[in-house]
Symmetry: C2
């Protein structure tokens, strides 16, 4: 037999991705045996009852089957956006698009960025991808030649980054977020990480920043974004800005500040910036459609051509996902027939997410031995748990699953300061389930730590 | 500036993919300047007027927006298949599916393979992917650890394979198809290729076979399939069977024979087989939806788990593409309200493809200095051109584009025997355009070779 676990690609074998790891596999087994599982392991909103925006699904249905326009009643502005899609795609959703994605969608994304940040945006530097994950992987592929190429990643981080760096054979350069200060990102820690890498003979190539934070829930202020860009310039690093949760900022005092806006305000021409956005998060939750994009700044055009070439080998991102990306940024005009419903559906989702974030944060902090920083943004809490000696967060999360049916991901999957234990839970179960999660978790924690 | 062409990932830089290379880029420029381009470079049927099957688009529209069932008239069997999709997906198309893809789709694919070949098929060994390209890339990633790992590929081949092997840092082991014998695949040539690899210190890990052939148009008989499997067993190789054109077999005497059917008939338990299929080709041409799958046989389950892990890092294939895959294999029942239309639409597409294949083959062979083997299957002709000394097929194809607006891909992009020149053209332009292509090509060839 020619294929054995021992002889498959090393990168493949060593790659780890805890969000769908052994605890999730065990939860699937239990569910097949008839157990009730509360899925808190993955940011998959529609699987937990969040409803898609009608605006998006009506337009998609029309784009898939244009003859419907004559057979059913659609609001005039949905018919109009469907015509835009037909015109822009020329031949509908059944064609390979340009490798970068439909031009009319990239134009709309550029207008969205300009309107959001008050800056220019070049549609030729925007690439549509199968979700933001593929965009991040393409950029990391570009940056990593071998084990001497280092990428700074936050700890804790979303394991897409650690997994992809391992897969491509690069070096992970962890920088610790400060849990004692609401997961703050500090220049001192970034400097420490770069210095440690250089001492080890590794060349830092880029820094990954996730804002709002996954799994931390922290939202960066303008000063922190500026600090990261200064640091990147000083150390000749590219910046990968994972901004897929930009709409998920829950507290009135916070505001999402994009890396692009600060880069342009400061006129930084030396820092290459890759900014990622997605249709899977925000108030859409269209995970299954795999829509997303990366906008590149200060990247030489001959390098951009290499990204296109890489994309073109597997032809293009899926066209339906590109259309969802279009509908993310091409929203119904105020006063039009779809606007009120669209706004109401968004508000309902936003208010509910904000409420669940607060419920979860407060509920977790009410349990002795659990501490949870503010869930200011994104879709997760990453509480710290105090565990008896000799017990790991893997043990804790597996026991939690077996005893309560709650499926969360151990902190080890995201990285954590040595000697600390955490888990990641989404804020996505419906309100009544969140309350049950908090209650069962509290009881479990007391039982588990008393053993 | 931290990112320059000189310091990006080596694999990325060295990867070549001619189907969307410089000639295609030039054609896009010309089109923007107002020139009429005949796109013969890529198998993108709907961009050249092939219509999607109504069955597929009606069901997709309903799956995207289920409320339509009450608002418009749909045939009863479309409503039924839409209910199957809703039941099977549980939460619709907005969710991350299992990493392998929706279970109900994998069940349907397994039933399709069983019915096609009269053999058992395991839905747990089927993975749904964003088109067959991503499936092939995942398998190659598994097989390639470094430059010592060799993959046998046909010459000429579809450059997905050469590009991906380069990207992952493996070794391409070419085996020549015999142009003088209608692109026949011979054991002697396979043995030669393996022996040459071993002499160079390379371990052959797998063989890629494309049947029906891209770009050759050749269709393998049962004896050839059996020969390849014997060869794979003798040399401890995995087999990658690219069978995406299985429905594109045009001559009554030919029949598609799957690798799985021969493997099972011979009871070969030692040969690992990966078989790829797609929604982009056949009679669907749903390229933009990026649907496809790989079925694995004789692959240890712990290795299959590694494939799942790899998939899970970017979560799952797009859900709409998975649904198109479902509709590829879940066809309307005879006697039901959609069957006649579905059968008629398929027949129209098939007959037209078969006619264009013949027109192109005959038209090319009528030009002195051009020789084209039978276009028995797939969607391409790969004619050989006799060129004046000092001129390459790149020069030829660029001049063809500039002088006639016909966009084809030079043979170098696919590989060819030393000293021979070819180009690949699709058979996809509508009949009247095919006639114009043949005419203009003939005139151009005479002019070009007379210079």
């Amino acid at each position: 037999m020619s294929i054995r676990l021992e002889n498959i690609g090393r990168g493949v074998r060593e790659t780890r991705y805890a969000v769908r790891g052994p605890i999730v596999a065990r939860a699937q087994e239990l569910e097949q045996q008839g157990r009730d599982i509360i899925w808190c392991n993955i940011g998959n909103p529609q699987s937990l009852g969040q409803r898609p925006l009608t605006w998006i699904r009506q337009a998609l249905a029309l784009a898939e089957y244009p003859a419907l326009a004559e057979q059913a009643q659609f609001p005039a502005d949905v018919l109009e956006v469907a015509r835009e899609i037909q015109r822009g795609s020329k031949h509908g959703l059944g064609v390979y698009t340009e490798s970068k994605g439909f031009r009319f969608v990239r134009d709309a994304v550029a207008r969205f960025i300009s309107a959001r940040d008050g800056i220019a945006s070049d549609p030729e530097a925007i690439y549509l991808t199968d979700g933001a994950s593929k965009a991040a992987q393409a950029v990391l592929n570009l940056l990593i030649s071998g084990p001497q190429d280092g990428i700074l990643i936050p700890i804790p981080q979303y394991p897409l980054y650690s997994a992809t760096i391992t897969l491509y054979g690069g070096a992970q350069l962890p920088y610790l977020l400060d849990e004692a200060d609401d997961w703050k990102l500090t220049r001192a820690e970034l400097d420490r990480s770069v210095a440690a890498a250089r001492r080890a003979g590794i060349t830092p190539r880029a820094i990954v920043v996730i804002n709002p934070g996954n799994p931390t829930g922290a939202v960066l202020g303008a000063a922190e974004v500026e600090m990261v860009l200064d640091f990147a310039r000083a150390n000749d690093l590219a910046v990968l800005a994972d901004e897929v949760y930009q709409e998920n900022v829950y507290r009135p005092a916070d505001r999402f500040v994009s890396f692009a806006s600060v880069l342009e305000k400061k006129g930084l021409r030396e820092v290459a910036l890759f900014s990622f956005h997605s249709t899977s998060k925000g108030l859409l939750g269209e995970c299954g459609h795999r829509g997303g994009y990366v906008e590149c700044r200060n990247v030489p055009s001959e390098v951009l051509h290499e990204v296109i070439k890489l994309q073109s080998v597997s032809l293009c991102a899926n066209a339906a996902g590109q259309i969802v990306t279009y509908l993310l940024v091409r929203t119904p005009a105020p006063g039009g027939p779809s606007h009120a419903r669209w706004a109401a559906e968004r508000k309902e989702t936003f208010d509910s997410l904000a409420r669940r974030a607060r419920l979860l944060e407060e509920g977790l902090n009410a349990v002795p031995g659990i501490h949870c920083n503010a869930v200011a943004g994104a879709m997760y809490a990453f509480p710290r748990v105090t565990l008896p000696p000799g017990v790991t967060d893997d043990d804790y999360c597996m026991a939690l699953l077996e005893e309560t049916g709650i499926c969360v991901v151990p902190g080890t999957g995201f990285g954590q300061a040595p000697g600390t234990w955490h888990f990641r839970t989404t804020i996505l179960p419906p309100v009544e389930q969140i309350e049950r999660v908090v209650e069962r978790l509290g009881e479990f924690h007391r039982r588990f730590t008393a053993r």
